[in-house]
């Protein structure tokens, strides 16, 4: 969270990349080492608490590894859904349910299917956004950074925002382009920014 505070001098020597790096091992929560955690529980109240825990786990895992989206089929083979030490893994069907719950209002809309609503007709290639920050929250962060660096009125390219040296200390540095677009659209809708340019070279101006 502390990284959200923008440095007042964007042109000074860039500080090291944001703390949540992929170098250190992700500290899994205690639930991860509890075998029944990998089977969705039949009791409603228990299941709800389990879904909560899964949602927290997925969000913090993605945040740690700076993943903005998951492809379920691939993710199922990753540590996130498969505890190899225990020999337990979350089944695809259960994982879909977890994501679906996260995407709903009950789960705080912390996920979203990339290809529409994740209907069965879409096949099993479900890709989903994991919103450890929701687009509105990203938009807020970016806006705050623009404010803090007094860049209102100037034009920035999207590439600059996501990959530029100036944003290296920011949490949105290295952000998924598609998600960046989504987040900026929030600002556009509010009339706080305007996006222009063609597909590859888009720029944005903040008002």
């Amino acid at each position: 969270m502390s990284t959200t505070a923008a440095s007042p001098h964007p042109t000074s020597i860039p500080p090291p990349p944001p703390p949540p790096s992929t170098n250190t091992a992700f500290p899994f929560p205690p639930h991860y080492h509890y075998p029944p955690f990998f089977s969705l529980q039949p009791t409603a109240s228990t299941r709800l608490s389990q879904l909560h825990s899964w949602s927290t786990l997925i969000q913090s895992y993605c945040r740690h590894h700076r993943l903005f989206a998951l492809s379920l089929v691939d993710a199922l083979d990753s540590d996130l859904f498969w505890n190899r030490k225990l020999g337990k893994r979350l089944a695809l069907r259960d994982a879909r349910e977890v994501i679906a719950w996260m995407a709903g209002t009950e789960g705080g809309e912390r996920a979203e299917w990339v290809d529409g609503t994740g209907k069965k007709g879409r096949g099993e290639e479900g890709r989903c956004w994991v919103y450890w920050r929701r687009p509105e929250e990203w938009a807020g962060l970016i806006e705050a950074w623009v404010d803090a660096t007094a860049q209102r009125g100037t034009v920035l390219t999207l590439y600059e925002l996501a990959e530029g040296d100036a944003t290296r200390s920011q949490e949105f540095h290295g952000m998924d382009m598609e998600l960046l677009q989504k987040s900026l659209q929030v600002l556009v809708k509010k009339g706080k920014a305007q996006i222009f340019g063609s597909d590859d070279q888009q720029g944005i101006k903040f008002f």
Partner: protein
């Protein structure tokens, strides 16, 4: 000489009764004096205890070892800190307690200026919070140690509290008059806090105890070890499952039932 003291004739009888009456009054006097001096002693002691708790109030609240020793001292002299909680002392005893002007409040809070009592009530609130937060996960049953860990971590404002298991038990006891349904039950060697007022039957507590020992249980394990019929074992487990007291792991040959208390313990292993 000895005969003269006993007296002769009818007067001896009245003499006798006069003597015993005198003995009796003397006895009452002595007893009254005793009571007086004891009461003075007690009130002096209580005053000192009061002083002590005021000067060391901060330590009592912040230092668990100190608090435990203090509680032990109170117990030793027969002052149960929480026994008098939440009920007015009978008017008879209220006299003894120094400064019981209104007769309201309990012995503990009057003597200790409320700070120690407040400590346990505050802790009680934390315990309730922790139990409520985790109720969905563990079906309203938590080991005292786990509650302590969570209270110590404390995400509430003001951070965690330094407490011992003993403090937790005391705090839960202080909740009793509220009819909160918080009870302490023994499960094997562990003390558990039950935050849902629902009795477990013998079969259920047996199974939970076995789980504490073995880590998990399956229907056939119950059949083998307890010589239960399959239907009985199944029914018990299903009840526990429905109450959220066990979690099921279906990725095995036979469904394994685990106690949620292992969620935190599994992390170590």
């Amino acid at each position: 000489m000895s005969t003269s003291r006993r007296g002769v004739g009818l007067a001896a009888f009245s003499n006798n009764s006069v003597a015993s009456a005198q003995y009796a009054t003397h006895g009452t006097n002595i007893r009254a004096a005793h009571v007086d001096s004891l009461q003075t002693q007690i009130s002096v002691f209580q005053q000192l205890l009061h002083q002590f708790s005021i000067t060391h109030g901060k330590d009592i609240r912040s230092n668990p070892t100190f608090r435990a020793e203090f509680a032990r001292m109170c117990n030793a002299i027969g002052v149960d800190p929480l026994a008098a909680s939440a009920r007015k002392p009978p008017t008879g005893t209220a006299k003894v307690v120094e400064g019981a002007a209104g007769g309201i409040g309990n012995l503990w809070s009057q003597m200790l200026g409320g700070s120690v009592n407040d400590f346990y009530f505050e802790l009680g609130v934390r315990v309730v919070e922790v139990c409520r937060d985790t109720r969905a996960e563990n079906g309203g049953m938590m080991s005292v140690g786990e509650v302590r860990r969570r209270v110590q971590k404390g995400k509430a404002i003001g951070g965690g509290m330094e407490v011992t298991d003993d403090d937790i038990l005391r705090a839960v006891k202080s909740l009793e008059p509220l009819g909160s349904g918080f009870t302490i039950m023994k499960l094997g060697t562990k003390q558990m806090i039950r935050s849902i007022p629902k009795e477990l039957n013998t079969d259920q507590s047996t199974v939970l105890e076995v789980i504490q020992v073995l880590g998990y249980i399956t229907v056939s394990m119950l059949q083998l070890n307890l010589r239960w019929e399959r239907a009985r074992a199944k029914a018990v487990i299903e009840d526990l499952l429905a109450d959220g007291l066990v979690w099921v792991d279906m990725q095995c040959d036979e469904a394994e039932y685990w106690s949620p208390t292992f969620i935190t313990e599994a992390a170590g292993g």
